[in-house]
Symmetry: C2
Subunit: 82 residues, 2 copies
DNA sequence: AAATATTTGTACGTATGTATG
DNA sequence: GCATACATACGTACAAATATT
């Protein structure tokens, strides 16, 4: 066998891509709130820091917006793209 | 006493601003390597995550560049500005 | 070629702070 | 005052990449 293309699948990236796909497919509509981060982390079985790393990437891509002490919400499609 | 203007002085921000100042003043010249992050965190008496948060801000401002398994280095002034 | 040292990257779980309602 | 939710901070462990011996 030849060299495999090694693309490590870091947890924070798996979570990020999962949500990215669900948002871009429309499954998660604009203004939909994501579950609270601790709760979501618990559901997914990842640490808080890991989940926050993932949502940080979502914010950087413009997919979600986080409002302190309110929640994290799916953004309008027009607000997206880096 | 009247209301004080409360501006919280988060640790990661203190560290960030300390290095930002030292870089912009020229005390830390371009290509100077910063101490290894774990070592630096220990010296400053902060947690690794806190130091990494600070260096992440430095990277975002273009003040430093981090090369995995090599180190974090002060950038040329021309590469800066947000 | 292999082992070692150095350095950044990822991941964990918990505690406390801050802001809103 | 209380509940909820994001933000900061801690300390530790292991993984991955690079360079040196």
């Amino acid at each position: 066998m030849t060299e495999e293309q090694r693309t490590p699948h870091y947890l924070y990236r798996v979570v990020f891509e999962q949500f990215k796909a669900r948002i871009e497919s429309g499954e998660l509509a604009p203004n939909t709130p994501l579950p609270a981060e601790r709760r979501l982390a618990a559901e997914l079985g990842v640490a808080l820091g890991t989940l926050r790393h993932a949502t940080q990437l979502l914010r950087e891509e413009g997919l979600v917006v986080t409002i302190p002490s309110k929640g994290t919400f799916v953004r309008e499609a027009s607000a997206r793209s880096s």
